[in-house]
């Protein structure tokens, strides 16, 4: 065998091993974080921890039930506000604003917004909602998280709608279907898997955000008192507990981190499982 060919095969084997090693390192970071949090947090995780209110300072025990409910409420409201706006804007960009100045501006604004530090988004929600209402509220936290979700959902919707083949649009138009019906009942459903996946990923990202909630939803040691009052959330409770001087709270912070990680993992996994294309379909 030719010696330069043998050398190329050796280089190939070496490079293949290197890329596999890098892939293993990337995956092990996630597994390492998960494992460490599980190791530190699992011991404090109990039914009481998940179902009770926080204990007053100085007492041990207590739980994060209010933060779990609060996170669900704040993130859920954010999804209700942000996902429809994101999907509608993405649909507009893909179907009507592909070229032209307005489309360019919206796309550019979304990309910039995606890169704005989340604490700045929090400040913006503070100015937009908290100051006029003169109170911290769950609603203002939801607005901040919605602002974080919109650009993610918008750009993914645009991508997935843009990937729907033009022949599918033409097939609908050729049946004498008005353009808006073709978009709403043929193009959008064809892209729905991608849009739902992107929405769930945006939701799980928003669920983990802490900075935008500090001066919006503010936090609370009590049960949820409606959208117009301060509310406890998981990431913020975690943050408060982690920077506190109490040993018991540190333990609880690890357990809260575990709960948050499991939630994000569950959302991600279900996004992938539910939205898998059905067998025997080429779509």
């Amino acid at each position: 065998m030719n010696s330069s060919y043998a050398r190329r095969r050796r280089v190939n084997a070496l490079m293949l091993a290197l890329t596999a090693l890098c892939a293993a390192v990337s995956a092990s970071v996630l597994l390492g974080i998960l494992g460490y949090i599980a190791w530190r947090g699992a011991s404090s995780l109990s039914w009481a921890f998940l179902t009770r209110l926080p204990a007053p300072v100085g007492e041990t025990g207590g739980g994060i039930a209010n933060a779990i409910v609060g996170s669900a409420k704040v993130v859920g409201t954010a999804a209700l506000l942000g996902i429809p706006v994101g999907v509608a804007s993405g649909l507009y960009l893909a179907e009507y604003g592909r070229r032209g100045r307005f489309g360019f501006l919206v796309r550019y604004a979304a990309d910039v917004m995606n890169g704005v530090p989340s604490i700045v988004i929090g400040l913006f929600a503070y100015a937009l909602v908290v100051m006029p209402m003169k109170r911290f509220s769950a609603l203002s936290g939801s607005v901040a998280l919605a602002l974080i979700m919109i650009p993610v959902v918008l750009r993914s919707t645009e991508d997935f709608v843009g990937q729907v083949p033009g022949t599918i649009r033409e097939a609908a138009l050729a049946l004498g279907v008005p353009r808006w019906k073709a978009v709403a009942f043929v193009v959008l459903p064809t892209a729905r898997r991608g849009i739902l996946t992107a929405s769930l990923l945006a939701l799980s990202r928003a669920a983990g955000e802490t900075a935008p909630l500090i001066f919006t939803s503010f936090g609370s040691p009590y049960w949820d008192q409606g959208l117009l009052n301060p509310i406890a959330t998981l990431p913020q409770t975690l943050y408060n507990y982690a920077i506190s001087p109490y040993e018991d709270w540190h333990r609880q912070a690890w357990a809260a981190a575990l709960v948050l990680m499991l939630f994000v993992l569950a959302v991600n996994a279900s996004a992938r499982l539910w939205l898998r294309p059905p067998q025997g379909s080429s779509s």
């Binding site: 592909r98 070229r99 083949p165 022949t167 599918i168 033409e170 097939a171 609908a172 138009l173 050729a174 049946l175 004498g176 279907v177 008005p178 353009r179 019906k181 073709a182 009942f185 043929v186 459903p189 064809t190 729905r192 059905p278 025997g280 379909s281 080429s282 779509s283």
Partner: protein, 277 residues
């Protein structure tokens, strides 16, 4: 120069008005096209003044090399060409005494259906819903009427026997040839007067192609078919009339047999004998 059927002497045209070819108007005219020009803003014209009369309840084939404008021509007939950015189309097209270019495109397309080059069933719909789409998306609610129309359309497209037991399974799960027949059924379900077919068999194997050609012979009993094809044997097999196009112009148009056996134009002869294209 070359004979163009029924050239309207009133229409301004770069080509001299020729004598109508024999037996050209034996059947009533379904679509009459006069001096049709089309293209894209800022680009070269794709159609440079095409005139022809398409006979009712006959198959008219349009042949010619790639880029000659044959697809653009039929896409003007249902005004899908104009849906592309920057596209324009002018001249005159008459369908049943009405001007196609003044028609609301959405309503026009219910009279002039289309089947595309690649089978394009709606991926989110099952077989039944695909065929029913033209009705349901346009607000038809009568379930019995929809079911009846779906069955009759699938029968006309020679697909009913193969799919009657799996109407609820996805349309994209069918073979390529079946998908194309599904698309034909979907177009027929709207009950158009004219069916445009843009190289409907170019993505299919010979067996699937033969089935489509067979069903064409059936459906032309009730509607006018215009088929663009790269395959000259196909044009010869399925059509009564054939138009040969080159560089955006109609070179020759007449009864299929005459065009293939005694072409009047040298360029047609070169093309049909395989000397170019």
């Amino acid at each position: 120069m070359n004979p163009i059927m029924n050239q309207d002497p009133a229409a301004p045209s770069s080509t001299p008005a020729p004598a109508p070819p024999p037996r050209a108007a034996a059947k009533p005219v379904a679509l009459s096209v006069r001096d049709l020009r089309a293209g894209y803003a800022g680009g070269a014209a794709v159609l440079k003044g095409v005139s022809l009369d398409i006979s009712e309840r006959r198959v008219t084939a349009i042949i010619g090399p790639s880029g000659c404008g044959k697809s653009t021509l039929i896409r003007c007939l249902n005004r899908l060409h104009e849906a592309l950015p920057g596209a324009f189309c002018d001249g005159q097209i008459m369908l049943g005494g009405r001007s196609v270019l003044d028609w609301d495109p959405v309503l026009l397309r219910r009279e002039v259906g289309m089947v595309f080059q690649r089978p394009n069933p709606f991926p989110t719909m099952n077989i039944f819903d695909n065929v029913a789409a033209g009705l349901t998306l346009n607000g038809e609610r009568d379930r019995a009427k929809i079911a009846e129309r779906v069955e009759s359309s699938l029968r006309r497209a020679a697909l009913w026997d193969e799919v009657k037991d799996k109407l609820k399974s996805p349309g994209t799960g069918l073979s390529g040839g079946q998908q194309q027949r599904l698309c034909i059924a979907r177009a027929l379900a709207v009950e158009p007067r004219v069916l445009l077919m843009d190289e409907p068999c170019s993505a299919l194997d010979p067996v699937a192609t033969a089935r489509i050609e067979e069903l064409l012979l059936e459906i032309k009993e009730t509607l006018t078919v215009v088929i663009v094809t790269h395959n000259m044997q196909q044009a010869a097999r399925v059509s009564e009339y054939t138009a040969f196009m080159l560089s955006g112009e109609l070179v020759e148009f007449g009864p299929t047999q005459g065009l293939f056996t005694k072409p009047a134009d040298k360029r047609t002869e070169d093309y049909v004998t395989g000397r170019f294209g």
